[in-house]
Symmetry: C2
Subunit: 337 residues, 2 copies
């Protein structure tokens, strides 16, 4: 695969982006990685040895976090994220990665790469990193969804999860809802439940409550982008808060401090298991290429893992997704998309 | 205050409900507690000594978890939860508590107690039990909300939180949303933001993201019942999962097991701080009395804490809530309620 990397996006750009790209390049000898950025990237690169499967492409500056993405893309067509996205449109890359503004990455993907056939709206899919990883989507691309959108997310998420997580069986799809019974939820949830249950294409396990999202009861959990975003950030915030509370208790007396020294590697092991850098980013599904949104504070390890993930999801993701969407739409007599 | 207690609702009824009521009665000598239930309640009661401020009221059986609440209430007007609710309507009680089916408690409150003036829809308010407690509402009473409902929830939640949490300053109200900027979110969130910012009555701190709900950035967080329910259950599920992961790591080798023995009380302290039994239940706001929905698995301590909470929220909650809603509606030239 060929992957364009926005070297200027993110809090630690360009140094950590370049370092992560170089690390990934060594582990992905069959892939070609294209670093997109200004002169400062070449400078960093020269100081640490350039793998043979990494190339460079000139661009203008990054889109800043405080810029309105669509306006910035119109005003400055040579920003690094736009040049990376355009490489996908031109067929020079299969995928692009950016740890810059999420809004700018999504806007660049929609404007430059475009949606896949049969997909009205895209979704951002992210792994909930508990013992059994679960793919949650949408976590913020489409805050107002129709029922058909959630069915599409189930299809797109299923195709992606199978490849990305290496599932051996058909992915189990769940609908995030306020109760397990089919009649639960608001209009969107109830109608989406009906579409998912009737589709015959996805292995639908029914409604999944918030209390079970960390338990691996489904491989893929679909919801609208408003709920998904709030849920994802809540899960991250609560995990962090609990770890801090445990850490605070552990060091509160001399005896527990000693015990804490013994246990520190164990607590760090839990930290490590839920560390978002393990996956390195979220995938934007529903566009004509693999688009990965890195964390704003991505370090080299996160960038490396994100690029390994793109390779794992593999070439042909777009084509397989389009075929899967088409199958459902042939069966559907309902909503037009 | 006079409080009716449904002695038959919940997994551990009647024994734990009765025990918790007796314990609360001793700590609330000025309150009158009315245990509502069948013959089995009197039996339990006789075996453990009856405080002078506890009385009994006969009822039929409980509403089962698998019954459709509204149908059960129509078919059997003498269920314990209906009799408890009717005591509030008759003015014999200011509040009622039930650890039975949430749906039945909400339905009994709406049918028998009724809504307060100016409140189109009720909300279930629950404390997020982190270092700085935050009141989250709605967590499931109204899954489909209008913007005006969220403004009402802010008013009701503010009045309640001031009393229940004993706040010295005006409660800080936040709107749960996908980003902090005013323009973020779906139509509901954007319009609710406008109403809250313009109301002039609440101390509105703006949008709050999921990642910050455990950080005490607001005293009261408002959202629709769909999002709130999923968020609350996610927070509970993630907290439980992280504690289990930490527990598993702690006991994985002999050395860490020894350290774990030293640390066990500390881990239990974290458990204890986030234990839902500390509050014992959620309040249904927007009805003409204090209505508390206990956890289905409430033990005596949870029941006791719920009844102490009712007393803390105090008499006059309904009247103060109505006055506050009226103030907003006089100022409002917008939505009719």
């Amino acid at each position: 695969m060929h992957v364009a990397v926005d070297a200027l996006g993110g809090d630690n750009a360009p140094a950590e982006i370049v370092a992560g790209t170089f690390a990934a390049a060594k582990r992905l000898p069959d892939d070609e990685l294209i670093l997109v950025g200004g002169a400062e990237v070449a400078w960093d690169a020269l100081s640490s040895g350039i793998p043979g499967n990494v190339s460079f492409r000139e661009s203008g500056g990054a889109i800043r976090m405080d810029e309105e993405p669509a306006a910035a893309l119109r005003a400055r067509p040579d920003t690094s994220v736009a040049v990376a996205a355009r490489a996908v449109r031109a067929g020079e890359a299969d995928a692009f990665f950016s740890a810059g503004s999420t809004g700018a990455t999504v806007a660049a993907a929609l404007l430059e790469v475009g949606r896949i056939k049969g997909c009205r709206r895209p979704a951002i899919a992210t792994i909930l990193p508990f013992d059994k990883p679960t793919l949650l989507l949408d976590v913020g691309a489409t805050v107002a969804c129709r029922p058909q959108d959630l069915l599409n997310f189930a299809i797109l998420g299923g195709v992606f999860a199978s490849r990305y997580l290496g599932l051996r069986e058909a992915p189990r799809i769940g609908l995030l809802n306020v109760g397990e019974e089919p009649g639960k939820g608001d209009d969107l949830a109830r109608e989406a439940h009906g579409l998912l249950a009737a589709s015959g294409v996805v292995d639908f396990v029914g409604n999944v409550e918030g209390r079970n999202i960390a338990r691996g009861v489904a491989d893929v959990l679909v919801t609208d982008g408003f709920t998904g975003n709030v849920v994802l950030k809540t899960a991250e915030g609560v995990a962090r808060e609990i770890m801090e509370m445990v850490g605070g208790e552990v060091t509160s007396t001399v005896l527990t401090k000693l015990a804490g020294i013994v246990l520190r590697p164990r607590l760090l092991a839990v930290h490590a298991r839920v560390d978002p850098e393990n996956y390195g980013g979220s995938f934007l599904l529903g566009v004509r290429g693999s688009v990965v949104i890195g964390h704003g504070n991505s370090c080299a390890r996160g960038v490396e893992n994100a690029l390994l993930g793109i390779s794992r999801a593999g070439a042909g993701l777009v084509e397989e997704s389009e075929r899967a969407l088409a199958t459902v739409q042939e069966q559907s007599t309902g909503d037009k998309v």
